[in-house]
Amino acid sequence: MAAAETTTLNMGPQHPATHGVLRLVLELDGETVVRCVPEIGYLHTGIEKNVEHHTWQQAITDTDRMDYLSPIINNLGYCLAAERLLGIQVPERCEYIRVLMAELSRIASHLVFIGTYALDLGAMSVYFYAFQAREAILDMYEAVSGVRMNLSYLRVGGLQYDIPPQLQGMVDRFLEELPRWMHDFRSLLDDNPIFVGRTQGIGVLTPESCRAWGVTGPALRACGVAHDLRKAAPYSGYERFDFTVPTRSEGDAYARYRVRLDEIEQSARIVRQAMDGMPSGPWRSADRKVTLPPREELTTSMESLIHHFKLASQGFRVPPGQVYQAVESPRGELGFYIVSDGGTHPYRMRVRAPSYYNTQALKQLLEGELVADAVAAVGSLDMIMGEVDR
């Protein structure tokens, strides 16, 4: 016999387990992957380029559509970057609301991960439980902004609206229910021998390989590196909140799953603190060159009317310069590098999308594994193709 024959299996871009449109060209020996070539670009939407044709405020709607599972964290990274260029500070209440909504969307994103990951591995009920739990967060999105997905709730210099009074009750109810949902997930998956067998020792990353590939987020923390930008480079007042950075040492798919579960609990703690310690006061910057004047002033103040007209028709100008602002998204370090030429539109925006960097590690993760494990490894990185391809 000649050397073992291999088969080339084209997994994706349309495949139930590749979460959108990731394409993997797998060379198989039997069911063992000997070579893996990930191919991306099927969801390229030109978001970075589109931003150049939108005003600074309009560009927020583009950022939502990258990582559509945690839109607020995308908004947050962009707004913080733009605010640094403008040199403006947002009021404390605004920072609290931003943290509150960002952590809720982190919980929502991790819930989707748990559901879809379990579904990839064949545990279908967990999927529905996780999405049912997430429903409460989508209701909160709707309550604050009127939209359940891609909500573009943040604004450069503040927020779209103040939070409505009923949010308090919704958050309380959700935080009360969350431990029960978490107990369900943990009892269905944590010690389930089939689930543990499918994920333990699969897709192992080491701190060195994470550094080499630029892998961040839960995947990095699952190899024992307690790197979290909310602690390492606090933004939006995260230093005010008491939370820990969960880590595990194994670096495998199971560790990544457990880290995300623990992160949900930590995020819930932050949500509790943000809701309880919510200061009163203004919820957007008072800088009339950036934020819209209140509606009632328009009938009494000529100056407000002019501001309103300028902001609504051409937008504000941002001083020339460049900035890099990174935030901790549910998938890792989400960075916005923005250049301004002093105009009403960003001159250039480049996004460091964590999923893009995490996807690079796939080749190393998959080679030598079985096809079934390939699904477990791909799912455990929790990549969002909208963010990878932008």
């Binding site: 088969t7 299996l9 084209n10 495949h15 139930p16 387990a17 069911e31 379990a118 579904l119 990839d120 591995l121 064949g122 545990a123 279908m124 009920s125 999927y127 529905f128 439980y129 049912q132 269905l188 998956l189 389930n192 089939i194 689930f195 067998g197 499918r198 079985l370 096809v371 079934a372 494990d373 390939a374 699904v375």
Partner: protein
């Protein structure tokens, strides 16, 4: 028995199984729905009860496609093989005690050969041919992987299944299904009492035998898209689904007949078809429950589990049953 008589009974059985399939499908979707915080089918007819009719109309009216490179003969024959085998295996399952209408005895199975159990096992193992050939003939890599898995799985599980069934045979000393039921009722003790391990092994293997989650590796939606039936559409695809469900009926009926006293009620509460139906329904509920709870086991671990755990356990159980019957006097 005249040929016409058998023919009429066969047709009646096929109709019965199709009806049972249709409504078990609704039951599965409903039960799964309630497990998963949703309603299941509710739109077609009251409480979703006309759903199977809508599904049947849809399936039959879909275009029957075949991949360009497929081996036409085998590709088209495979679903028929699978369905034929599934129906054939059920032919000897007695659905209740023999009925008497004024001196005219009507046994509730199409046929009752003296060693009906052997026949069921023999025919049921043929089903994998349809699956393997169908996947192979599809000329699709996902389908091929699915059919390879199906054959590997069959080899790993049929043995343990057979050994579990043999323990019931040793226990009752009979090889025909009515005889095994009679033996259990004669001794007022269900097979499951001494043979609990055998029943557990049978239950696990029957899930694997029917390619059901968590052993649905041959289809493995998350990995192989739809496994061996990826390339099938319309009624040919429906054939595979119907066969899978009829296999579940066969396995649940076997479980009830071999281990749970068949059509005899507990504590001597009479004998009727309804008892068997109740036991089968409980068994089928177990199938659904397992499906909604467990993730899919990995292919190589499934084989490891079959060979390293189930087969040795089945042998140990067989020795125990032999000791129970031979030294402890069994039921006697």
């Amino acid at each position: 028995m005249s040929l016409g008589y058998v023919l009429v009974r066969s047709i009646l059985l096929v109709l019965l199984l199709m009806g049972a399939f249709a409504y078990f499908m609704v039951m599965e979707r409903k039960v799964l729905g309630y497990f998963q915080l949703r309603w299941g089918p509710v739109r077609v007819g009251p409480w979703g009860l006309l759903q199977p009719i809508a599904d049947a109309v849809k399936m039959v009216s879909k275009e029957d496609t075949a991949p360009a490179g497929a081996d036409a003969l085998i590709f088209h024959a495979a679903p028929a093989i699978v369905l034929f085998v599934a129906l054939g295996a059920f032919a000897v399952i007695p659905l209740g005690p023999t009925l008497h209408f004024g001196g005219f005895a009507v046994p509730l199975s199409v046929s009752s050969p003296p060693s009906s159990l052997l026949y069921v096992l023999a025919i049921a193992s043929l089903g994998v041919y349809g699956i393997s050939l169908g996947g192979w003939a599809s000329q699709s890599k996902y389908a091929l992987l699915g059919s390879l898995r199906a054959s590997a799985q069959m080899v790993s599980y049929e043995l343990a299944l057979g050994l579990a069934v043999i323990s019931a045979v040793v226990l009752s000393g009979r090889l025909d299904l009515p005889g095994i039921v009679a033996a259990q009722s004669q001794h007022h003790l269900w097979g499951v009492v001494p043979d609990i391990l055998g029943f557990a092994i049978f239950a696990i293997c029957s899930v694997a035998e029917c390619n059901r989650a968590p052993f649905d590796l041959a289809e493995a939606e998350g990995e192989l898209v739809a496994g061996f039936h990826t390339e099938y559409s319309g009624f040919r695809y429906a054939n595979f689904v119907i066969a899978e469900y009829i296999n579940m009926f066969t396995m649940s009926a076997l479980g009830a007949l071999l281990f749970l006293g068949g059509w005899n009620g507990p504590f001597g509460l009479g004998a009727s078809f309804w008892w068997l139906l109740l036991k089968m329904a409980a068994y089928l509920f177990f199938f659904i429950w397992v499906r909604s709870t467990y993730p899919r086991i990995r292919y190589d671990r499934l084989m490891g589990f079959g060979w390293k755990v189930l087969v040795p356990a089945a042998f140990v159980n067989l020795v125990w049953i032999a000791v129970f019957v031979g030294l402890l006097g069994g039921w006697r």
